[in-house]
């Protein structure tokens, strides 16, 4: 299990090196999007409208942060359950989305589509949101402000710690991890 430092936008050559269980320290621009934001992005795609940001080679963080206290760019922030975004994910992979950060397993359809598009799913640790907030250097709402915590935020992150769950080879850390430690 190695540690990689990766800068966004993601590059295929770097994603090829990632194996399940590897630690990644992610830096650069990433975007938050949860259920309602996904729903709107998909509606916009269907209506052939231009999305509020270009998803090509980008990373979506399934997260809705707590409000920023004075002097901080953002409040506590961490991953939400990724499977709720499964039904929205394929069209986003089709337009170039390369990385997703969440928690919990993806369904078979998304896993196959990720492999096809050489995209990677990372887990961030859920429930360590005060710690993760330290990696966020700036935060700006770029779409759907009316959604409150569900608005899309553009974040600048430095060394955000995530773990590779689904690599480009189709591996799945949740399956292999449980298999290794199961007692009966």
């Amino acid at each position: 299990m190695s540690i990689h430092k990766i800068q966004t936008p993601l590059k295929d050559s770097e994603l090829q090196k990632l194996k399940i269980g590897d630690s990644v320290l992610l830096s650069g621009t990433i975007y938050t999007a949860r259920d309602s934001a996904h729903q709107r992005l998909i509606q916009m795609l269907k209506a052939k409208e231009t999305l509020p940001f270009d998803l090509k080679d980008q990373v979506l963080f399934y997260a809705g942060p707590a409000p920023a206290p004075p002097g901080k760019p953002v409040g506590s922030i961490g991953p939400t359950t990724a499977c709720r975004m499964d039904s929205y994910t394929l069209p986003l992979l089709d337009i170039g989305l390369k990385g997703m950060i969440g928690k919990g397993a993806r369904n078979q359809t998304v896993r196959m589509a990720m492999q096809k598009h050489s995209a990677v799913y990372f887990a961030a640790i859920g429930g360590i949101a005060a710690l993760l907030a330290r990696c966020i250097k700036s935060s700006k709402i770029i779409a759907f402000e009316d959604l409150g915590p569900e608005a899309i935020r553009q974040l600048e992150v430095v060394n955000l710690p995530v773990i590779v769950v689904n690599d480009v080879l189709g591996g799945d850390l949740y399956e292999e991890g449980v298999f290794k430690f199961k007692k009966n």
């Binding site: 707590a66 449980v178 298999f179």
Partner: protein, 280 residues
């Protein structure tokens, strides 16, 4: 009759919301520490270490432990000799939540309607459960309940013939299929008996029992221990990356039930197991 003013209730709820979201309770911290010491998975030990570090950072920087500061579940035990003055009791609770979530920079996670999902903007309404008890005190318990773990919860009406084995299988299976979604290590609250709504509420009350405290009936104490052991052999581990520590605790609460029924409910609670209580 003892008078309690709604102002005091607002203030208490306000501070409990902030406190509970920022301070991870010591019994939870202690159990996570001992689980880390016993964890055989390297990545699992790292995860547990980071959870402990996060609890520290949250406390010292007054930031919420988790960004999901929950739906605010409120348990009230109202002494029958208490007289609430100065306005409505439930409005005082909602106002306390409103103030606490605003002033504590907590996330507002409630939508007004299940389908037309507009955020209410202040985390109200709180979900209030009231019990009338003897005495002249008012006990307020605040449970900021995260969505990720709540979504992995389930109630099922089993038949009496499915018995203890049926209940155990239901509980263990619930944890297994939840995988990483409820942010393991989890606390598993199990409600058995009563009616559909009673067993579900028992499961909710089970998650706030102090860690390490066993059921007073040795039959159920043994059930808790054996469920905990079996769950921790599933291999799920911290954050489901594989490991030994899947659950920190299993708590079982029971009630009498109908001759035809064996209701059971599981309420999943994440390691960010938050609650706060005060007695007025």
């Amino acid at each position: 009759m003892r008078e309690i003013k709604t102002d005091q209730i607002v203030q208490t709820v306000r501070s409990l919301c902030i406190e509970a979201n920022i301070h991870l309770r010591q019994d939870v911290i202690d159990r996570i520490q001992s689980c880390r010491d016993q964890e055989t998975s390297t990545i699992g030990r790292q995860v547990l270490g980071q959870i402990l570090e996060n609890a520290d950072v949250a406390r010292t920087s007054a930031m919420p432990i988790c960004q999901d500061t929950g739906a605010t579940v409120v348990l009230l035990k109202v002494g029958q000799d208490v007289h609430i003055t100065g306005g409505s009791l439930s409005e005082a609770i909602h106002e306390g939540v409103r103030q606490g979530y605003e002033e504590g920079f907590l996330r507002k996670s409630i939508v007004q309607d299940p389908f037309r999902r507009t955020n209410t903007g202040d985390n109200t309404p709180a979900f209030i459960h009231t019990e009338i008890v003897p005495g002249d005190q008012l006990k307020i318990t605040i449970i900021p309940k995260g969505g990720g773990s709540e979504n992995m919860s389930e109630a099922r009406m089993l038949t009496p013939s499915q018995g203890l084995e049926g209940v155990k299988q239901f509980v263990i299976n619930r944890v297994r299929i939840s995988g990483g979604n409820p942010c393991p290590p989890v606390i598993v609250g199990v409600g058995i008996g009563g009616t559909l709504e009673v067993c579900t509420f028992l499961a909710k009350k089970a998650i706030i029992r102090p860690i390490g405290q066993r059921h007073p009936d040795s039959f159920y104490a043994e059930l808790e221990t054996s469920l905990l052991n079996e769950i921790n052999q599933l291999g799920i581990g911290p954050q489901a990356f594989g490991g030994r520590c899947t659950a920190l605790e299993v708590f079982v609460e029971v009630r009498p039930c109908h001759i035809a029924s064996l209701p059971v409910a599981v309420n999943m609670q994440c390691h960010a197991a938050r609650h706060g209580e005060a007695v007025l």
